[in-house]
């Protein structure tokens, strides 16, 4: 890998001395060539073969599919496949920047840079080139194609340079509204340029989706700020006075638009010129003709990837290319693998929009029926193509929401077994009544595993023992071990089969704990275990995951076991708990000091305002009657909190699964209608339950009269004043599924009320599932609200004394997490921007002013702002 670039060629005589080994030459060093060499090395082929790979690009093989990510990741070296060790294996040589220029079939040699390299077997993996339509001005400076890292690097440098020079956004146009064209449009957007996509066909992505799907896609991406023109042919590109791209004209009176940059993404053509020169057969529309072993007319020459014309066509996706690479690797080692057909099903995210297309997406089968669900407002279009009896799935198109893809793709050719529309409605991944996938349906197309194979594994047929969990099913069948997109379906098959066998499917928290959250809570409470590692060692397996770790952290915190950042607990928290602030979209945090009951003094308001002014924070009043301060960098959090704590504030736990706020109206203190002191009660409740860790966030509200100005019935616990005392309601929430709280107890004294809320909250904390609000908990707990009432008020389980004691511990042990953190230099360590450069703030943060405050820059604004100062200099 550290070759002198001026002398990259190996000594030919070196190769001749390796007479003991056969010589394989690979022309082309793209993704498919890389997979071929990888497969050969994995299988020990280098004992028999030396491998010489010629690639004309200066880089080792890289991930071309992820090309667009180079716009954001900024470093092409990050795209390189593997860690480079493949090219240091004995007998394997990568000739970078060396184009093979000829093949001599008689002599069995390849010529490159004036030298000849003998081969015993030759693989053509030259891929495709980007096709540019023959229009006037297509070579004007400012015209680009979109194929290699260098193409993308040049496009980026050009756009950045323009952006720095022009005092308006750069205007880009992409010719071609297919997959690659939309990627290119996304790339232009990422660079802060305006983009227009021009498609010749009447709709976008005509190869993958139908007209209605294309229309939906268009609507979504237009909302993202991309202009779209369909059914439009580009006639010419005109230069401006500087001689670079200035405008483009459309055919048939389509007018013209001003543009600065044009990207051609109008398709690819196989690079089959070497094969043509030596007289190999070529497919009808290009590509080297091969049989199902990827062998060309010449038995010692193979073709793989996009250059191969096989099974009647060329294959422009990496998946079939990889399959061909595996076939050739097998053949070179004496196997008899064949390539019969590739799966052209695709699921992609373009500009953040899900698009999937599979099977007979265009309903080409005679008599086929189409079942369509479209939600133009929500930007969703789904279509299933069914057989003429509406029973068998033939294919489909999903735009905007492709979640059902993993379940549907393996069903192609099988009976759906239920009303097909059930698959299309929102959240319709699992239709009511369930489906049974036929045994022969392919579930994992990467490793070719059928539904039947998975069922056999679960039943233990042909395996050492029955596989009763996802891990062992994967281990036995290899299903889901490559791309993993089929795992939800594998899990479903596993559960179905276990249920059928009468084995109870568990309510296990995750693969590390076989118990539910409520059971785990009891284990922790009863055993006195106070660390995750001890708990997982005694009652679980492995090292934990993103599900069980925060759950255990929450349980431990609910049991008042110490600071959330103490020792091991810190690694259990999710990111917000971890730094005790709420992460926002740009990676900075918001800070929310507690303002109990929403009551704040003028001095307090001024102090908060001063903090915001000192640190340049954006301020907004929240729905919970407090003030949110946005835009705090992680390294600023301690200083911000120092100032807030000095002014008498404490953490508002806006980041935690814990009590958020107790909202109140002004009550009898000022209001002419108020019958009780709602503010006083709200403050007392908020101070009592602050910091209580729970399965989900908890909100309370207190209204001073039946007019309910505090909206208490929209809270987990709502208190409404009566002439005689307080009514308490439970199980309300706003959000995605709003619920009104239900009446729990009436006319309580303040003392009775507090006891009821104490017990209600703690019983919820102990028995609810993870991320279950009180409303959902009341619905699922056996006996519902009546059961909870009997536990809390009539002590039907005899646990009231225990609950009361636990709440007393909570109230007694409460300490402000932020004050405790500031007093502990160890905990402060994590609040730095960079471990090796703590004084450098994150250089990627960019802000603009709006209405007198700052907010994160949009991608367009970013590109302009950043390009202005750090313009790339091209060598």
């Amino acid at each position: 890998m550290n070759q002198d670039p001026k002398h990259p060629l190996p000594n030919v005589s070196d190769m001749d001395t390796e007479t003991a080994r056969k010589r394989l030459v690979v022309i082309g060093a793209g993704m498919v060539a890389h997979r071929l060499v990888e497969a050969l090395v994995e299988r020990g082929a280098t004992d028999e073969w030396t491998i010489d790979v010629f690639g004309e690009e200066s880089r080792p093989p890289y991930d071309r599919v992820a090309l667009t990510s180079f716009f954001s990741d900024r470093d092409p070296d990050d795209l390189v496949l593997g860690d480079g060790s493949l090219w240091t294996v004995d007998g394997v040589r990568l000739h970078r920047g060396v184009q093979a220029t000829g093949i001599d079939r008689e002599a069995r040699t390849v010529s490159a840079r004036g030298r000849t390299y003998p081969y015993d077997a030759l693989v053509l993996a030259t891929g495709s080139y980007a096709m540019v339509p023959p229009i006037d001005g297509k070579d004007t400076p400012g015209c680009f194609v979109y194929r290699t890292v260098d193409d993308v690097a040049e496009l980026r440098a050009y756009v950045n340079e323009l952006a720095a020079r022009l005092d308006r956004p750069v205007r880009g146009a992409v010719v071609g509204g297919g997959l690659l064209g939309l990627e290119a449009a996304g790339a232009l957007q990422a660079l802060g340029a305006e983009s227009t996509v021009i498609e010749f066909a009447p709709w976008l992505m005509p190869m993958q989706v139908d007209e209605a799907g294309g229309r939906t896609l268009r609507r979504i991406i237009e909302q993202l700020g991309v202009q779209v023109r369909t059914a439009t042919a580009t006639a010419k590109v005109r230069p401006n006075r500087r001689g670079t791209v200035g405008s483009m004209e459309f055919a048939d009176g389509g007018g013209s638009i001003d543009v600065d940059v044009v990207v051609f993404a109008t398709g690819v053509r196989p690079r089959d010129e070497l094969a043509r020169e030596i007289g190999l057969s070529i497919g009808e529309r290009g590509g080297v003709a091969c049989d199902d072993a990827c062998i060309t007319d010449d038995p010692s020459i193979y073709a793989i990837g996009e250059v191969a014309h096989i099974a009647g066509r060329t294959w422009g996706l990496v998946g079939p290319g990889y399959t061909m690479a595996e076939v050739v690797a097998d053949r070179l080692l004496g196997g008899d693998a064949t390539f019969t057909s590739g799966d052209l099903s695709t699921k992609l995210k373009l500009l953040g929009v899900d698009v999937a297309s599979f099977g007979d997406a265009f309903a080409g089968t005679e008599g086929s029926l189409e079942v369509v669900y479209a939600d133009p407002v929500g930007g969703v279009y789904k279509k299933l193509v069914m057989s003429d009896d509406a029973k068998t799935l033939l294919g489909g198109i999903l735009v905007g929401d492709a979640e059902a893809y993993a379940s549907l793709r393996p069903m192609v050719g099988s009976e759906l077994g239920s009303d097909p529309t059930a698959w299309l409605v929102p959240d319709g991944v699992t239709p009511i009544g369930g489906v049974s996938l036929p045994d022969e349906a392919s579930v994992c197309s990467c490793n070719n595993v059928t539904a039947g194979a998975i069922r056999c594994a679960v039943r233990g047929e042909g395996t050492a023992e029955p596989c009763h969990d996802l891990g062992s099913v994967k281990g036995c069948t290899k299903a889901g071990t490559s791309c993993g997109s089929c795992l939800p379906l594998v899990k479903k098959l596993l559960d179905e089969e276990l249920t059928a066998a009468g084995i109870e499917t568990s309510n296990a928290l995750c693969e590390h704990f076989a118990t539910s959250r409520a059971q785990l809570f009891d284990i922790v409470r009863v055993t006195g275990i106070r660390t995750f590692s001890e708990l997982v060692a005694t009652h679980g397996t492995g090292r934990g995951c993103d599900i069980c770790r925060p759950v255990v952290a929450s349980i431990l915190a609910s049991l008042e076991t110490g600071h959330v950042l103490d020792g091991e607990a810190a690694a259990l928290q999710d990111t917000n708990d971890h730094v005790m602030a709420n992460m926002q979209k740009d990676g900075t945090y918001s800070v929310v000091p507690r303002i109990p009951g929403g009551e704040v003094t003028p001095e307090g308001l001024i102090a908060i305002g001063q903090v915001a002014a000192d640190f340049g924070l954006y301020t907004k009043i929240t729905g919970g009657q407090r003030i949110d301060l946005f835009g705090a960098r992680i390294d600023q959090l301690p200083a911000i909190w120092k100032q807030l704590i000095d002014a008498g504030f404490e953490s508002g736990h806006a980041y935690g699964k814990s009590l958020r706020t107790v909202k109140s109206c002004v009550g009898s203190t000022w209001c002419r209608y108020g019958v009780q002191d709602s503010v006083g009660l709200a403050i007392a409740l908020e101070l009592r339950y602050r910091g209580l860790r729970s399965p989900h966030k908890i909100k309370l509200g207190v209204s001073g009269c039946a007019r309910e100005c505090a909206e208490a019935r929209g809270k987990d616990v709502g208190v409404i004043a009566t002439d005689k005392g307080w009514n308490v309601y439970v199980g309300g929430n706003g959000g995605f599924t709003p619920r009104h709280a239900q009446l729990f107890a009436e006319d309580l004294t303040t003392e009775e009320l507090v006891a009821v809320i104490d017990r209600f909250l703690l019983y919820y904390v102990r028995t609810a599932d993870r991320l279950q609000r009180t409303a959902a908990w009341l619905e699922t707990i056996e006996g519902g609200i009546d059961h909870v009432r009997s536990v809390v008020i009539d002590d039907s389980l005899g646990i009231v004394a225990d609950l009361d004691a636990a709440m007393a511990v909570h109230v007694d042990k409460y300490e402000d997490e932020w004050a405790a953190t500031l007093a502990d230099p160890d905990k402060l360590k994590k609040f730095t921007s960079f471990v090796n450069s703590p004084d450098t703030p994150d250089p990627d943060l960019v802000y603009v002013d709006e209405r007198g405050q700052r907010r994160p820059a949009t991608p367009q604004e970013r590109a302009t702002l950043i390009a202005g100062t750090t313009l790339e200099v091209r060598s």
Partner: protein, 117 residues
């Protein structure tokens, strides 16, 4: 086509003692933002700090998780998982994060970074 691929060098980043199992730290290595993770007594990983889904430099604040015997890195939002070894997103074959070789020499963590030539 004047792109050179640069030279890879080992860059000293921090004292190995600064890393705690399960908690990531960000580092600025020759202008690149890198997230360092210690996932076991002898397991270190260095990946690009940029979360490709949010576009923010926050992978160091992600959560280390174990699933099916694999050690994975969840984005701070917890929505996406990446393989530490390859940088590949588990549910999205189109998306990867950068990965960098990392080692400990004389008690210091070193990351191998390609410096543009």
């Amino acid at each position: 086509m004047a792109t050179s691929s640069g030279v890879a060098t080992w860059v000293k980043v921090c004292d190995a003692g600064e890393l705690v199992v399960g908690i990531g730290v960000s580092a600025l290595v020759r202008g690149k933002q890198v997230a360092l993770f210690k996932t076991g007594e002898r397991e270190l990983h260095a990946v690009g700090n940029r979360d490709p889904y949010s576009g923010t430099q926050t992978m160091a604040r992600g959560l280390v998780v174990q699933r099916d015997g694999q050690t994975l890195l969840a984005t701070p939002t917890g929505r996406e998982l990446f393989d530490f070894a390859t940088g590949q997103c588990v549910d999205d074959p189109m998306t990867r994060i950068a990965t960098y070789p990392v080692r400990v020499v004389n008690g210091f963590v070193e990351v191998r970074i390609t410096v543009r030539g």
